[in-house]
């Protein structure tokens, strides 16, 4: 027989799953929404993302407009990582991410806060294997 605690647990699980299903998922292409600063040595941004970076002062900003404030779960897609590297990702709060050579696919960075209006997602290289060994 189902205990009252099990019933509460099942209801809570159903509620959580419903919330998960209600989440809106948006996939933002880097190519149409991203700018590099400083722009003196432009690195080409293609449908596959930007070409390999080498300078840690280069920042890529991806812009997205939100109809309201919202907590968001953020993932990035790595087509193919060519070297061990650490990057920082900032969307109204910064996180660092270590990437391994040969890594590919979606990488989850967890929760961030999205403001109403335009938001800037900043990507910046922190260190890279070639830079360290150079």
């Amino acid at each position: 027989m189902l205990s009252i605690y099990n019933l509460y647990f099942l209801i809570a699980m159903a509620f959580w799953q419903n919330l998960e299903l209600q989440q809106n998922e948006f996939i933002i292409p880097i190519a149409g929404n991203t700018y590099q600063t400083p722009s003196e040595k432009p690195i080409k941004i293609t449908a596959s993302g930007w070409e390999s970076w080498s300078e840690t002062n280069t920042v890529w900003s991806t812009y997205v407009h939100s109809s309201a404030s919202s907590q968001v779960d953020l993932e990035i897609y790595i087509p193919s990582q060519t070297a061990n590297a650490t990057i920082s990702v900032d969307l109204n709060g910064s996180k660092k991410l270590q990437l391994q050579a040969g890594q590919s696919g979606w990488v989850n960075l967890g929760d961030f806060q999205l403001h109403h209006g335009y938001n800037q997602i900043l990507f910046q290289g922190v260190e890279k294997a070639e830079l360290i060994s150079a």
């Binding site: 919330l19 209600q22 989440q23 809106n24 998922e25 948006f26 996939i27 933002i28 292409p29 880097i30 190519a31 149409g32 929404n33 991203t34 700018y35 590099q36 722009s39 432009p42 449908a47 596959s48 993302g49 930007w50 070409e51 390999s52 970076w53 890529w60 900003s61 991806t62 812009y63 997205v64 407009h65 939100s66 109809s67 309201a68 919202s70 907590q71 968001v72 779960d73 953020l74 993932e75 990035i76 897609y77 790595i78 087509p79 990582q81 979606w106 999205l114 209006g117 335009y118 800037q120 997602i121 990507f123």
Partner: protein, 290 residues
């Protein structure tokens, strides 16, 4: 390195961004939304002349900006920021033959140069339609109000002449940019409009703004009519809601256009705007126009 970002938001949130690359929208989206003001002509009158003024404040003029003052149904006339060291006055007329390749235009549909001003380059242009292009390298300054005057006049033989003049208040005399003849065209001035665009994709995150003031139109007998109403519109990127950083309308008695830079104060597309009438028609000494 990174090709896509996935955001999972709370329910009922909508996000706006450049979603796809159909028709090269990644390119157009990174340039940012182009915005226009279409001025209302009084009905049932033929106008030959259109007069407009542009002021761009310092800092509102990043490289890649085109502040187009005097648009017409067959071309446009305005000022550009081409690089950190070069600015231009640009006047172009499209060929009636629709192509992006000027080499394909048959002889009988080519734009003919009638006359041009000193140091003005003239040639053909392509990519966004094809036709006759003229430009003068001219380091116009932010903070100065420049005047634009152009005419559209049929020659009675199935062609139409288009002529553009520019006035720098620090020079004090109208200068001729160019005059072109468009074959297979019989029209007076139609669709007076202005626009603001950025033509460099890597500069779409920078904001630009221009004020457009004191619009007047004159018929072939030099009777002036003040134009005080304009419709605000945007390009495909704006209409799709892929970029929302655009604005335009009336401000402090003048029309304005603003785009790029990811600001939040958007103006509704297709909205109508008015400016107060000045009642002061431009004083043009027609005999002295070059």
């Amino acid at each position: 390195m990174i090709s896509q970002v996935k955001l999972k938001t709370q329910p009922n949130i909508s996000l706006s961004y450049v979603r796809d690359n159909e028709n090269n929208r990644f390119y157009w989206g990174r340039r940012g939304p182009s915005v226009h003001l279409s001025y209302t002509f009084p009905a049932e009158r033929n106008f030959k002349w259109f007069y407009n003024e542009i002021t761009v404040q310092p800092g509102d003029d990043p490289v890649g900006s085109y502040f187009m003052a005097n648009g017409f149904a067959e071309g446009y006339f305005g000022i550009q920021v081409n690089s950190t060291s070069e600015r231009r006055i640009l006047f172009s007329v499209w060929s009636p033959f629709k192509t992006d390749n000027p080499d394909e235009i048959p002889e009988e549909q080519q734009i003919k140069l009638l006359k041009k001003g000193e140091h003005v380059y003239t040639g053909e242009f392509g990519n966004e339609g094809s036709g006759g292009q003229s430009y003068l390298k001219y380091n116009w300054k932010a903070g100065v109000t420049y005047s634009f005057l152009n005419s559209v006049e049929p020659d009675g033989m199935g062609n139409t002449a288009y002529t553009a003049y520019f006035l720098d208040p620090e020079v004090g005399e109208w200068i001729l940019i160019a005059s072109f003849l468009r074959p297979q065209t019989d029209t007076w001035y139609k669709r007076p409009h202005s626009f603001l665009e950025n033509f460099i994709p890597t500069a779409g995150h920078l904001s630009r703004k221009g004020t457009y003031s004191n619009q007047w139109a004159a018929d072939s007998d030099d009777n002036w009519t003040e134009l005080t109403e304009a419709k605000f519109t945007g390009d495909d990127i704006a209409r799709r809601g892929y970029r929302l950083d655009f604005a335009g309308g009336s401000q402090e008695g003048q029309f304005f256009l603003k785009n790029g830079g990811f600001f939040d104060e958007m103006t509704d597309l297709n909205s109508m705007h008015h400016r107060p009438a000045s009642g002061q028609a431009p004083l043009i000494n027609w005999e002295k126009l070059p």
